[in-house]
């Protein structure tokens, strides 16, 4: 019955400064980073934030895991650049840079695409740092101290556990139905693949519920916690640092909004902009074909 399921949450154990930092401090940084990322579209500012985030990731020693998580964003980022370049989400008029066949690349598009891309990375890097360096139970225990209900913590962590399990069950059901001659394509394969997974999940959850009740789940009164995160001075100071930096940063980008609006500025030489778009487009197409080929092999 043992399956070698990977630990479902992307937490990477370690002893870095960031691992030892209080979960709430890291949460503060994640939140203020997102706020600041949305306060500006200036690619350089956002790049700066991303670089800082990457530095933190490096110090935490979780670069490979970060790469794996960000890989999910990769195709989206590429398509963002490409589509924005030829059809900017920006008020007209647009300044054309170059023509590529039927498509025109606009300066606003480059700006828009790159800034959206940078905003994504700037905003998410600190959140990913939080997830990679914090054991989920520590995070939940910390949230509990803030008053988040115990049951909510449990629901989220139990759901996370369920994801790889449901994936595994789905694979088993597919094998079982293929063994009955089902070809795994088309509408006729939907019900045979999904119904058993749902039924199995329901059965599992029922037994889990009984098991939990039998261990006094839902008791009223004081709950204790196995996990203990003591907040030290470092944690407070670092959290404060994050708030101050982001606060100042946000103030500055708003104050100097016009100066930082590079939508009309040629901040990249045209040949570079075109190269970026072409490379992004090619990579995107290659990526999509590779994925499609892999799906065909199954």
């Amino acid at each position: 019955m043992a399956q070698n399921l990977p630990i479902p949450v992307v937490f990477v154990p370690g002893r870095s400064f960031f691992h030892r930092l209080h979960p709430l401090t890291k949460l503060v940084w994640a939140v203020v980073a997102i706020v600041m990322a949305f306060a500006t579209r200036n690619p350089l500012v956002l790049l700066g934030m991303t670089v800082l985030g990457l530095a933190f990731i490096a110090v935490a020693g979780v670069v490979p895991a970060y790469g794996r998580v960000m890989l999910i964003l990769f195709p989206i980022s590429l398509s963002l650049i490409v589509f924005q370049a030829i059809a900017p989400a920006f008020p007209q008029p647009w300044i054309p840079i170059s023509r590529l066949g039927p498509f025109t690349i606009y300066r606003e598009g480059i700006y828009s695409g790159l800034s959206l891309l940078m905003r994504t990375y700037a905003g998410s890097t600190f959140a990913v740092l939080l997830v990679l360096t914090t054991h989920p139970s520590d995070l939940f225990a910390a949230l509990q101290k803030l008053g988040v209900p115990h049951e909510l913590n449990f629901m989220v962590s139990a759901s996370l556990q369920m994801v790889p399990i449901v994936q595994r069950e789905f694979q088993i059901v597919l094998s079982a139905q293929r063994s009955r001659g089902m070809r795994a394509r088309g509408f006729s394969s939907v019900l045979p693949s999904m119904v058993p997974v749902f039924a199995g999940t329901i059965e599992r959850v029922q037994q889990l519920a009984m098991s939990l009740e039998s261990r006094a789940f839902g008791s009223k009164g004081v709950k204790t916690s196995l996990r203990e995160s003591k907040a030290t001075a470092t944690d407070y100071v670092f959290a404060l640092l994050g708030v101050v930096l982001a606060g100042a940063g946000t103030y500055l980008v708003v104050r100097y909004r016009d100066l930082l609006d590079w939508s009309k500025v040629e901040f990249l030489p045209p040949w570079l902009s075109v190269t970026i778009v072409v490379v992004a487009a090619l990579t995107f197409v290659t990526f999509t074909i590779a994925l499609w080929r892999q799906a065909q092999q199954e």
Partner: protein
């Protein structure tokens, strides 16, 4: 008998939207420290009987109940499941379905957090129950990466951490390989013999139950139809057949050699007894 730890009085239960009662006028006493095995075919009411011992029936199920169940003096109809959880621990048939936490330690802590056990005490109990079930050192492991037998022992440990007086196990080995089965039976036996834990175990492995059980109950169609020490119950070979269950193989052998149902002596029910009783 001194005050029984579980007293079931004329218990009947019918699940909503079903045609027949799952439990039909069951009356039964279980003494503290007894190892009671429950046998019978699917649908006989064994699971329903187990669930009525910790309040899941009637509190978590929809249906009609009659009669009373008392556990350590508490009326299960009047006491919440989460209260009864401190007296009766339950282990179910699918090891993986009972586990939801990221590490072994947290799985055991789950119940203790619910009842507000202080952190130091929690850690102490976790160490203690892991030792009892033979999983010391597994604290940081992921439950999903354990073998079936290990997972089930973890489920037992999680129930034990609540310091119950009774442990009810509903077909705990049905999804396990032979090594896993042995592990679980060994833990149950150790709990009973070394710690006086009252064990109620629903199982089909009659050869094993004959060795460990103080008492065997056979259920059929919602009733307890046989109730007594292993030799007395399992010697009733014809009755067992009628109730769609079976005696140990050596007992079937002894019966086939001497099929007299009115014998005064019981048939052998274990390998050792059979070797002694059946001459060459």
């Amino acid at each position: 008998m001194t005050e029984p730890i579980i007293s079931i009085q004329n218990l009947s239960y019918q699940y909503a939207l079903t045609e027949h009662p799952a439990l039909n006028q069951v009356s039964l006493d279980i003494g503290a420290g007894e190892y009671v095995a429950v046998m019978g075919p699917c649908g006989a009411g064994k699971t329903s009987l187990s669930l009525s011992m910790n309040g899941i029936i009637p509190h978590m199920m929809a249906g009609g109940i009659e009669g009373k169940v008392f556990v350590a003096g508490r009326d299960t109809a009047e006491t919440q499941v989460r209260e009864l959880a401190r007296v009766v621990g339950m282990v179910f048939d699918n090891p993986e379905f009972q586990l939801s936490q990221v590490t072994v330690r947290e799985e055991i802590a789950l119940g203790l957090e619910n009842i507000g056990v202080p952190r130091d005490e929690m850690l102490r109990r976790i160490g203690e129950v892991l030792e009892i079930v033979g999983l010391s050192g597994f604290e940081e492991r992921s439950p999903l990466n354990l073998s079936g037998g290990q997972q089930q022992r973890l489920a037992i440990a999680a129930a034990l951490a609540m310091y119950p007086q009774v442990l009810v196990l509903d077909e705990p080995t049905s999804n396990l390989d032979p090594i896993g089965k042995e592990e679980v039976f060994a833990v149950a036996a150790r709990l009973n013999r070394e710690r006086g834990m009252t064990i109620v175990i629903v199982e089909h492995e009659v050869e094993v139950l004959a060795t460990y059980a103080d008492r065997i109950l056979v259920m059929s169609e919602g009733r307890v139809v046989l109730n007594g020490p292993p030799r007395a119950v399992l010697s009733q070979v014809e009755a067992l057949g009628r109730y769609h269950t079976r005696p140990p193989q050596v007992t079937a052998l002894a019966y086939a050699l001497e099929p007299n149902e009115h014998r005064l002596a019981d048939y052998p029910v274990t390998l050792e007894q059979a070797l002694a009783a059946i001459p060459s």
